[in-house]
Symmetry: C2
Subunit: 509 residues, 2 copies
C-alpha cells in the first residue's frame, strides 16, 4: 500500500441512523446493498469507508443490509461508530473511500519481520486510537508483535508512541510512585492494600488500574465492587488532592488510548505478548505521571512467567524500557506457585482485601504478606523508609488500622463504599482422594473462574479452600464455583470435569 | 485453552430470523441484549455461541441488538450463518456455549513459534472449514504463518490437512496435468491459452482456478467474463468427459474448503505468505486429482517474487511439498519485469486472450509466447512431445486454429460463450515527459486497477499502452483507466496522482 492522506472521490451523503447494534467497539456502518451510494461508489460488504460529519470522521467496515429496518439512503451505525462520530439521528453523513493508510503498509512490513521505528509505530498507534484500523488489522499487528518478535528498541519506541497519542498527566508533588503486577497469578490483588498504606504515609500514589484482559479479574474490576472507578480526570484529581491517592480505571481518563484499542483484540485472541505487555504497562504509568515504578513478577510453573530465566528477561525488558522513558524502576520476582488469598474473581477478591484491611483473624496471610512486601519496597523507593526498613513501617500502618481508615476515605471520595455482590449459585468441587495437595494449576483455575462468568459477572469466580501442602480427605471441597447463572455454572463444571490434576493430590502411603 | 469436545450447558432456544445482513462470510448471530438467553447464559457482545438445528451446527459471534427489528426470543442470522445452518424463518435454534476448541490452543502455540504437526494443523483446518473460527482467530493464524515462519515439514503437513478436509477428485484417464502461476504479474492470463492447446492434443486438463485474492483478477474472474465458471462437480465432469478439460472456479466444487475460508481474511489483510501459497496451490491441485503440475514463477523487481534467490526458495518449497504429496512437479521461472499483454482486470484480460486465440494481428505477442512456452512444457510432461519439442507442437495447435475451436467448445459446454463487459468510464493517463519507458511498477499498476474496481467490477481495470523500451512523447497515453463508476475512477486517479514513477521515463538527451 502507498501513503496518501488526502481524501478521495467526491463522496456521497447518507442519513445517519442509530442501528442499535453492539459490535464490541468495532465501527460498522450498515448500508442497503441496493442503495445508490453502494452502487455508485462500489462499496462491497467488508469494504472500509470514511464517514464524516461536522469536523469529525472515522473509518468503518461496511455490512450490507437487505432488510426493511434500514431504508435506502440511510447509514445505520453500530454503537461504536455512533459514539465515535457523536451524531444524532437524521444528521447527514459524508461517505467516502478512505485514504490509503500508511500504517497498513507498516503493519504489513512488521508481519514480514521488518523492524519498525518510532515514526512508523506512532502512525500505527495514532490510527489505532482513532479507530481507523479494522479488527482484522489489529489482530494481525498484535500477532506479529508477540513472543520475541519485537526488539528492545521497538518496545521502547512502541511505548513512547502509545504515550504520545494520549493524554499525559502531571502532579503538583514529587515523587509520584506506582506499582504493577504482570499478572497470571489469580487473586494477587495487592494494589488495594498498597495504595492505602503508601498514601497513609503521605506518598503520592494516583493509581490508574486496568480491567482484566485475559484474567478473571483486573484491579479495576475488583475495586469496582467496592467503589466507583470510572472517574474522569477532574474527579480523579479531586480525590488525589484530598487523600494523596486513588484507585480508578485508567480507561476512563484516556491514558494510552491506543492500548485500550489493542486490548479489544488481545482479549478475544487471549494474546498478551512481552512487547505489548511492557508497552501497555509502562505507557500507562508514564502517561499517568508516575516517576518511580515497582513491578511484581510472580514466577511459577503455571503463572504467566514460568521460569527464572523468563522472569529475568521480562525484568530486563521492563527495566530497560522504563529507564529509557525516564522512569525509576524496581522489579521484584515473587512466588507464583499457587493462587493468592481465597477469592478469584472481582467480588471474591474484594472480600479477601477487606479481611486484610480490617485485620480479621480469617484474613488470608499470603495476600497480607505480599501486600506488605510490596508496600515496603515502595516506601523505600519513595524515601519514606531506609533500605530494608520498609516492610516494618508498612506492617505498622496496616496493623494500626490507619490503612483501613485511609482505604475507607478513598472509597468515599471516589463515590462511596459498596458491598461486593454475592453469587446466587455456589457449588463445591471435592477432592477425589485423600492425601496432600502437591500442585494447583493457576491457569486452569483462572479458566474455570472465567467460564463461571468472571469478570463480566463480578460476583462470579472461584474460592479456594486449600493451599499447597494441605492434607485433605476424599470428598472434602478443594474450592467452590460461584456463578450468576446456571448456564455459566454448568459450563465451568463441564470444563472442570474434563480436567485432570487441576488440583493434584499425592495419596498418603 | 484446554480441549474438551463435548457440549456445554443446557443451552437455550431462540427462533431463527434471517437478519438480511451480509457480514462477508463471518457467521454472526444478532440477539437482543435484553433477551432471557443473553441474561441467563451470560452472552456478551463478541461472545462466540454454538447454534444447532436438526443435525447441523455452527459457531457464530454474538452482536447485541437493541432495536425493534429484532424481537426478544429471536436470533437474527447473518447471511453466512443463514447459509451455513440452512434454516428457514421461524425454526427453533438451540443456542449453547461452544466447546472450548482444541484448535485455538494450537493457533496460540503457533503464534508463539511452536511448530505444528499434521494432526494439529488438521484440527485447525477442520475448524476453519466448519466455520468454527472467528475472523480474528483466522487473521491471527494467517499472520503467524507468513514469511518463513512455517518449516518445510509444516508446509507439507498444512497442505495434506487442507486436502483431507475437502473432497478429492479422481479421473478415469491418466496423466491428469495442471498448471499454476504464483501471480503478482498483472495480465499473465496463460491458463486460457494452455487449456485449449493441451486438451486439443488429447491431454486431460480439468482446470479449477481461483478468484483474485489480492490481485485485480484471478483466472476464474477472467474466464467468468467469457463463460460460466460456477459449475458444480457433476457439470464439471460432464464438460471434462466431452472435451478433456474445463476452466471452472475451484470454490464451487468444494476442493480445499479450508483454503477458501483462509482467503476471506487474507484478502482484506492483503496477506499471501509462502506456506499459505504453497499449501493453497498444491492442496487444490491434489484435491482436483492432478498428477503432473507445472508452476510459473514470474521474477521481477515489482513482481510477487522479486529476486532469483526468492524464486529458487519458492521453487524448492513447491517442488519439495508437491513431491511429498505425490505430484510430479516442474517449475519455470519467467520474466516478471512488466505486465503481460495489455489488459489488467477480468474483462480487459479476456480481450487479450481472445485476440491471441483468434490469431488477430493486434494480439499481444508477449502473452502469446508465454502461453506457448507453458503449453510446450506441459505437452512434454504429458508425454505428447519429446523434450524441447513441446513449444513447436503448441505453436502449431494455436496457429492452426484448433486451440480457438477447442476453447469455443469448452465455453459452450460450460454454459455458452459471452461478450466481456465494457466499462462506461475510460480515462487516459498521459506521459509527463518525452523519452524511453525504463520501468513499470507491477504492484502499483495492479493497485490502480483494484482501486478502479477490479475484480468486483469485471469491466474495470487498466489497459497498458506502452511496454519497457517504448519511445513516448509528452502527453501520449501510457495507459487507460477503466471503471464502472465515477467514484471508483476518481479514487484510482487520486491514487495515481500521488504516485511517482508508476511508469518511469528516461528523457532522451
Amino acid at each position: 500500500m502507498v501513503a496518501t492522506e488526502h481524501r478521495h472521490g467526491t463522496g456521497a451523503r447518507l442519513v445517519a441512523r442509530r442501528a442499535g447494534i453492539d459490535t464490541y467497539q468495532a465501527a460498522v456502518v450498515y448500508m442497503r446493498a441496493d442503495c445508490e451510494v453502494c452502487k455508485a461508489e462500489g462499496y462491497e460488504a467488508q469494504a472500509r469507508v470514511e464517514l464524516s460529519v461536522g469536523g469529525r470522521s472515522l473509518i468503518a467496515t461496511v455490512h450490507h443490509v437487505l432488510a426493511p429496518w434500514l431504508a435506502v439512503g440511510e447509514a445505520g451505525l453500530s454503537e461504536a461508530a455512533w459514539r465515535g462520530l457523536g451524531v444524532s439521528d437524521g444528521q447527514v453523513l459524508d461517505v467516502r473511500h478512505p485514504p490509503v493508510l500508511e500504517s497498513l503498509r507498516h503493519i504489513r512490513a512488521k508481519i514480514y519481520g521488518v523492524p519498525l521505528d518510532y515514526d512508523k509505530l506512532l502512525g500505527i498507534m495514532r490510527d489505532a486510537a482513532a479507530n481507523r484500523l479494522s479488527d482484522l488489522h489489529l489482530a494481525s499487528f498484535v500477532t506479529a508483535c508477540v513472543g520475541d518478535r519485537m526488539s528492545g528498541a521497538e518496545t521502547i519506541a512502541l511505548t513512547r508512541a502509545m504515550i504520545d497519542v494520549g493524554e499525559r498527566l502531571t502532579w503538583p508533588r514529587a515523587p509520584v510512585i506506582d506499582k504493577h503486577c504482570v499478572g497470571g497469578l489469580p487473586g494477587n490483588r495487592t494494589t488495594l492494600l498498597v495504595v492505602p498504606i503508601l498514601t497513609a504515609c503521605g506518598v503520592l500514589m494516583p493509581k490508574t488500574s486496568s480491567r482484566a484482559i485475559t484474567s478473571p479479574a483486573g484491579t479495576a474490576d475488583t475495586m469496582e465492587t467496592l467503589a466507583p472507578v470510572n472517574l474522569d480526570l477532574k474527579a480523579m484529581r479531586r480525590v488525589v488532592e484530598q487523600h494523596g491517592g486513588c484507585i480508578v480505571w485508567g480507561g476512563a481518563v484516556q491514558l494510552s488510548p491506543a492500548d485500550d484499542v489493542l486490548i479489544r483484540v488481545e482479549r478475544p485472541l487471549d494474546l498478551d505478548g512481552t512487547a505489548q505487555l511492557v508497552a501497555s504497562v509502562l505507557s500507562k504509568k508514564a502517561a499517568a505521571g508516575s516517576q518511580r515504578v515497582l513491578i511484581d513478577i510472580p514466577v511459577g510453573p503455571t503463572a504467566k512467567v514460568r521460569s527464572r530465566a523468563a522472569a529475568d528477561a521480562l525484568s530486563a525488558a521492563l527495566t530497560d524500557t522504563g529507564s529509557a522513558i525516564g522512569l525509576q524502576m524496581r522489579v521484584v520476582q515473587t512466588d507464583g506457585s499457587q493462587p493468592v488469598g481465597r477469592g478469584i474473581g472481582p467480588a471474591l477478591e474484594a472480600m479477601d482485601v477487606l479481611a486484610v484491611l480490617q485485620r480479621q483473624a480469617s484474613a488470608p496471610q499470603d495476600l497480607r504478606e505480599r501486600g506488605l512486601l510490596l508496600a515496603g519496597h515502595l516506601l523505600e523507593m519513595a524515601g519514606r523508609a531506609a533500605e530494608g526498613a520498609g516492610v516494618a513501617l508498612a506492617r505498622d500502618v496496616l496493623d494500626s488500622g490507619r490503612a483501613w481508615q485511609q482505604f475507607l476515605a478513598i472509597c468515599e471520595a471516589q463515590g462511596g463504599l459498596r458491598e461486593p455482590p454475592v453469587a446466587p449459585h455456589v457449588r463445591p468441587c471435592a477432592a477425589s482422594a485423600s492425601g496432600v495437595v502437591t500442585s494447583i494449576d493457576n491457569r486452569r483455575i483462572a479458566m474455570a473462574a472465567k467460564l463461571a462468568g468472571a469478570p463480566a459477572s463480578p460476583a462470579a469466580g472461584v474460592s479456594m479452600e486449600v493451599q499447597l501442602g494441605a492434607r485433605v480427605q476424599r470428598g472434602q471441597p478443594l474450592f467452590h464455583l460461584h456463578a450468576q447463572t446456571l448456564g455459566e455454572l454448568e459450563y465451568a463444571q463441564d470444563y472442570i470435569a474434563a480436567q485432570e490434576d487441576l488440583v493434584s493430590i499425592a495419596e498418603a502411603a
